[in-house]
Amino acid sequence: MLWIIPAVLNSTVGLCFTLLAASLGEAISEKSGVYNLGLEGYMLFGAFFGYYGSLISGNVWVGVLFAMMAGLLLSLIHAFISITLNMNQIISGLALWFLGMGVTSYLSRIVGTASVDSFAKLDLGPLSDIPLFGEMLFHHNIMVYIGFALVAVFSLLDRKTPYGLINRATGDNPLAVNMVGIGVKRIRYISVLICGVMSGLAGSYLSLGILGSFSENMTAGKGFIALCVVILGKWDPKKVMLGALLFTMCDAAQMRIQATGAASLYPFLIMSPYVITLLVMLIPTRKNAPPLTLGLSYREDED
């Protein structure tokens, strides 16, 4: 079985963008204190509208733009309900998840499943001919590289910019941030909307990245796995990247094994990422990690 390892690693790198982008976005949002249970919904919106944009324009990048705006829209609703209206984040997230599921399933039945172009693989010439690593590192479509670049961007953003520090402060003690004259709502909105854009992008990679079409519920729980990745990565972009790679690897492995193994193993293979996620969640983590006010609403001018 060992010979599948290079192929698995190859696939892992090629597929991880979805989980990576969504997790990075969610990590930033959770750091400010807002939890996006509707992540699955944002990603479905991104997947469908990305596909749709590409379908009607013939251009993959238009699709990407549509996807980012779709994710932004849904996260904007969540931001409005959780931040401005101060209503329960979990119920809002659930509602948006259902909404994402329902709207995209509905529209996909109307729009049909004609296929579109997916991202082209970059041709980096001789680099991709390096044995063993060449395929894995240098022969992917551009989004993969953008994904890893985003890890660096988010890392910088989080640790070294005023925005990042204020963002983290908001998650731990919004009153303190308010007291020094910084708008808590504004920061949270920014973080949630970033999450929305990233999730839309993540979703678009599913439909545009490999398959070139949309199918109902194609995210298959990746939004929730992203939530787990954020927890496992302790809200740190670099560790989140490792988590995303780990889970994508499970997925990639099970796909490869499927290709070689008996059909009856299929359900167990498909199940394995979820099982592994569940098992990994059971590993005890340091209690100090999460933002202190995650999921709690912040009210100004109220006693």
């Binding site: 979990i90 259902f98 399933s105 359900p267």
Partner: protein, 374 residues
């Protein structure tokens, strides 16, 4: 009742109209998106709604169909309320339904020799145990390992789905089945119908069971010691703990009870309407159940009524899917926007009330200023 009276005493005419207005605003939010969706896809919204309703309730056989379809949803929705009332986010209803359906099928298929008077209770118990077990896993992981039950139960949904996917294709696959399903359960294993022939014969006792369960859960939560403890934990876990309530016990019990009831919803599908276990058993029912419970604020009786309405809508929508081409998933969109509307209504009300008060205060202010300046 007394609480309503206290609130009513505080109401003046303006306050009442604020409440009404805010519900209207919420209603607009609710119908806006489905309306847009329908219009964008070339359907006429009012015609669609009319057809859904007439499809669901337009004739005796339609009503019978609706009742038949609603039973598992009502049961599952009642199950959803239990954990929610305790502040435990049991999103694993779908998985618990599926496992309950599995339990019921196993009992129905392998205990077939038993007389009906033993077979049916066996099916009932197996469904409840399987569903309850699936729920307890989430509860246990939450209390003992401090893992978010939100995520655990959710992952368990997918795992349950694939377990059944495997089982109906290989070990449990029916010898006479056309696709990946089990054999149809024998007549003895099916839930009894309400009538022996005619239109109403498709409606089974599970719809009655559904409302009986709703009443039982209402009693459990409002009138028993355990229910008090569940409510206390739902309102304020640390205070409840300081008051001596054993939180572990409460959480694990509600996950078991909720899961067991959801499992009975699965039984309702397998031993009731469907008659066999397939990979798409109770398709998305879990989510409808959760949405109904949340909208009805986890009160068992209103939840059961709302779930019944949802089931009727679903029946109607599936009908027009064939005739008009409107995807039945529309119901999920409507439910989602309903949930959003319910969520924002209190905020709308508060904002309107503040606006009213400011307006009233603004009228006094000029007069007061004159007095003070002197």
């Amino acid at each position: 009742m007394k609480r309503l009276r206290i609130r009513a005493e505080k109401f003046s005419g303006t306050m009442l109209s604020v409440k009404v207005l805010s519900w209207l605003a919420a209603l607009i939010v609710i119908v806006l998106l489905p309306g847009i969706l329908l219009a964008v896809s070339g359907f006429e919204p009012f015609a669609v709604i009319y057809n859904i309703v007439s499809n669901a309730l337009g004739s005796a056989s339609a009503i019978a169909s609706s009742l038949r379809k609603s039973a598992p949803i009502v049961i599952a929705a009642v199950g959803a309320t239990v954990a929610f009332r305790c502040g435990v986010w049991n999103i694993g209803i779908q998985g618990q339904i599926i496992m309950g359906a599995l339990g019921a099928s196993i009992a129905g298929l392998y205990l077939d020799g038993l007389p009906r008077i033993l077979l049916l209770p066996a099916i009932f118990v197996m469904a409840a145990l399987f569903g309850g077990f699936w729920g307890v896993i989430g509860g246990y992981l939450r209390q003992k390992l401090h893992v978010s039950e939100l995520i655990c139960t959710l992952l368990l949904n997918y795992i349950a789905e694939y377990i059944v996917y495997y089982l109906v294709r290989y070990p449990l696959r029916g010898a006479n089945a056309f696709g990946p399903t089990t054999d149809t359960l024998s007549a003895a294993a099916r839930l009894p119908s309400l009538a022996s022939g005619g239109i109403w014969s498709i409606v089974r006792v599970d719809i009655i069971l559904a409302f009986v369960l709703a009443a039982l859960i209402w009693y459990l939560i409002e009138a028993t010691v355990l229910g008090y403890q569940v409510r206390a934990v739902g309102v304020n876990p640390p205070a409840a703990q300081l008051g001596g309530v054993r939180i572990n016990r409460a959480v694990i019990l509600v996950m078991f009870i909720g899961g067991a009831i959801a499992g009975l919803g699965g039984m309702s599908e397998v031993a009731g309407a469907q008659g066999y276990l397939s990979e798409s058993v109770a398709d998305n029912y879990g989510f409808y159940a959760i949405a109904a419970a949340l909208i009805a604020r986890n009160k068992p009786i209103p939840t059961s009524v709302l779930a019944l309405i949802v089931g009727c809508f679903l029946t109607g929508a599936m009908g027009i899917q064939a005739t008009m081409g409107v995807p039945s998933v529309l119901v999920m969109v409507i439910l989602a926007t309903f949930l959003l509307g319910i969520l924002v209504q209190p905020a709308i009300e508060k904002a309107m009330r503040k606006a009213f008060i400011r307006q009233a205060a603004g009228q006094k202010h000029p007069a007061e200023e004159k007095g003070e300046a002197a």
